[in-house]
Amino acid sequence: MLNIKDLYTAVENKKILEGLNLSVNAGEVHAIMGPNGSGKSTLANILAGKDGYQVTQGSVTYEDKNLLELSPEERARKGVFLAFQYPVEIPGVNNIYLLKAALNAIRKHKSEPELDAMEFMSLVKEKMKLVQMNEDLLTRSVNEGFSGGEKKRNEVFQMAILEPKLAILDETDSGLDIDALKIVAEGVNSLRNKERAFILVTHYQRLLNYIKPDYVHVLSKGKIIKSGGPELAIELEEKGYDWIH
């Protein structure tokens, strides 16, 4: 589904990713761990199409097409979803209207009929239970005045509605209390299936107790320096990153 080959990127001439390789198949869950500043969010942003990064070398293909030449909105329509590490507040744009329009844009792209207000609301009710989202967050402006945990939950809620093919969760577990963490994990687990792939960026092995990854990768100084199974996360938790070279 996703193939990243020898990717080098820079921001304002600062090199960030330096020869990153990663291959993700449908149905798989990949966890990416690594020290602060190693380039995890950069990778997530590049996959979602954020401006401002120069790709100096390498390639990214998604469903056998060049992902890098698509606009962020085209990627979203083709099933790429990024749950942001720091979801931005957007005063004046209604949370639920944004989500409805997003869903319908994606459905339209798939040649599926758009949902009317009633159908959409029943879907919302169902998914809200899944992430136990507070109902009055729906009608507020996007993330405006949400607590840190509420923002993260809202990201997972959006993911649950949009049902992406490739979901990238950038530290969605950071800043969540233990109950919220379980809820978010259940949200992800309920979406796991053969067609869908996940990239989970996390600092904590704890999350992986609830979402069992197929692969764990260590990203350091812009490239993946070690890959393994779930046991690698436990090892990292014990020993930190220094022992890997």
């Binding site: 979602a48 199409g49 909105e73 979203a76 942001f84 957007i90 005063p91 744009v93 409805k100």
Partner: protein, 449 residues
């Protein structure tokens, strides 16, 4: 004033003088004639302001003075029903007053079913029949050394609205004054004049709506004077949607007595060259003025908002919030002046101006000014100029929103902060729709807000 009148300016003034003489000859000599004459003399001596004048530093009036306008209203212009119907509120019952190219239209105005204590009539009529009250107020609520545009208006008053709301009366229906300018055979200037007198503890909502069709070329030079007695409340809306070739200079002057409250909401989206003035005198303790403004410009438009608040008594409040959205090669100006006079202790003055520049070639000059001659006051002011936020844009696009729609949506959200201050739902909705209609992808934006 500028003082020095050069040859070119003299020619310009002569044009106005010819019209003035003609108008004087067809009008009989009445109590107001001496006001007209002294106002015209003032105009003749000062001429139009130029950019050396500090108050006009950022706004060059040459585009207006270059044109020759006819200053005598043509009452033969006929409006079409659909044009007028489109302008007035459909889902809100108003007292509608309509002027077409400066002349009062009885046909489209509706002053029925109003308490007989309330006076609402057109100015031409009031000048003849309400001499006593007008004498006391007309020209009394503008600054003594007011601009030559106001003087020009006084000299040329042909029509406008006179409203008198007596003590304790609460007019629930908004009074909707529409100044509609339509293509005429020649370029014309109108000088609408409104006088609004609010009795003690009275309450009213007034809309001044300036509309032009297509790209017609004309000049609106309007002046409104309002006087609020003790405890009166006036909500004033000004909607400036003149044609993109029109010039608009509008001055709103208000005197506030003890415990009165004036709320001004101004939305300015039309016109080639526009100046909106608000001059407020807080003359009584506990008086309060709220000024909200939104201006949106594109192409080569120039919109200047000037406010001047005098805190003359203790415990008075002023609160200003203006926002600008500028695109193309357009230019905006915000100059807000707050003067706290000696002995006006314990006043509060807040002033903020935020601007969104959507293009590299658009420009804003923002100048909040504070002059404080008292020592126990609370004053804050600030101005910001920025662009659309990249992180917000990316977030929206990552949720499948097209780039152009995302830009419009964020622009709308920025502008809507000002409209959110309006608690009259129907008026707020109408203004929101107006703002949306000016943005690219307007039909798509409606899905998100």
């Amino acid at each position: 004033m500028t003082g020095f009148i050069n040859k070119k300016m003299k020619d310009i003034i002569d044009n106005y003088a010819a019209d003035f003489t003609e108008l004087q000859s067809i009008r009989k000599n009445d109590w107001f004639s001496k006001h007209r004459k002294s106002a015209f003399n003032f105009f003749k001596e000062s001429g139009f302001p130029n950019t050396k004048n500090e108050d006009w530093k950022y706004t060059d009036t040459k585009p207006i003075t270059k044109n020759v306008f006819s200053n005598i209203s043509n009452t033969n212009i006929v409006a079409r029903d659909n044009e007028v119907n489109e302008i007035i509120f459909k889902d809100l019952e108003c007292i509608n007053l309509v002027f077409i190219n400066g002349a009062y239209s009885e046909e489209y105005s509706d002053i029925k079913n109003i308490s007989d204590k309330v006076i609402i009539k057109n100015m031409a009529n009031a000048l003849v029949n309400d001499e006593n009250l007008l004498k006391e107020h007309l020209t009394q609520h503008i600054d003594q050394d007011s601009s030559s545009f106001t003087a020009l208006n006084t000299a040329f008053i042909q029509d406008g609205i006179y409203i008198n709301i007596p003590k304790d009366i609460d007019i629930e229906r908004p009074i909707n004054i529409n100044y509609i300018s339509m293509d005429g055979s020649n370029a014309f200037a109108t000088h609408p004049r409104n006088l609004i007198l609010m009795g003690e503890n009275s309450n009213a909502t007034i809309i001044e709506n300036y509309v032009g069709n297509g790209d017609s070329n004309y000049f609106t030079n309007s002046v409104t004077e309002t006087f609020l007695s003790q405890g009166a409340m006036l909500k004033h809306y000004k909607i400036q949607q003149e044609s993109f070739n029109a010039f608009h200079i509008g001055s709103l002057n208000t005197s506030l007595s003890k415990d009165s409250r004036f709320e001004s909401h101004s939305v300015s989206i039309g016109g080639a060259l526009v100046r909106n003035n608000i001059n407020a005198n807080l003359n009584g303790e506990g008086a309060e003025i709220i000024m909200n403004g939104l201006y949106m410009t594109d192409n080569a438009q120039h919109v200047d908002n000037h406010t001047h608040v005098n805190h003359l008594k203790p415990h008075t409040h002023s609160h200003q919030n203006y926002r600008g959205v500028l695109n193309g090669k357009s230019r905006g100006v915000f100059n807000g002046k707050v003067v706290v006079h000696p002995k006006a202790q314990k006043i509060e003055a807040y002033q903020n101006n935020a601007n969104l520049l959507l293009s590299d070639d658009s420009e804003i000059d923002t100048k909040p000014e504070l002059e404080i001659y008292a020592d126990d006051v609370k004053c804050t002011h600030g101005a910001t100029v920025g662009q659309l936020d990249d992180d917000m844009l990316f977030y929206l696009r990552s949720r499948a929103v097209d780039e152009q729609t995302a830009r419009s949506l964020l622009t709308y959200a920025f502008a809507d902060e000002v409209l959110n201050e309006i608690n009259f739902k129907e008026i707020k909705n109408k203004l929101e729709q107006l703002v949306i209609s000016r943005l690219p992808d307007s039909s798509l934006i409606r899905e998100y807000v």
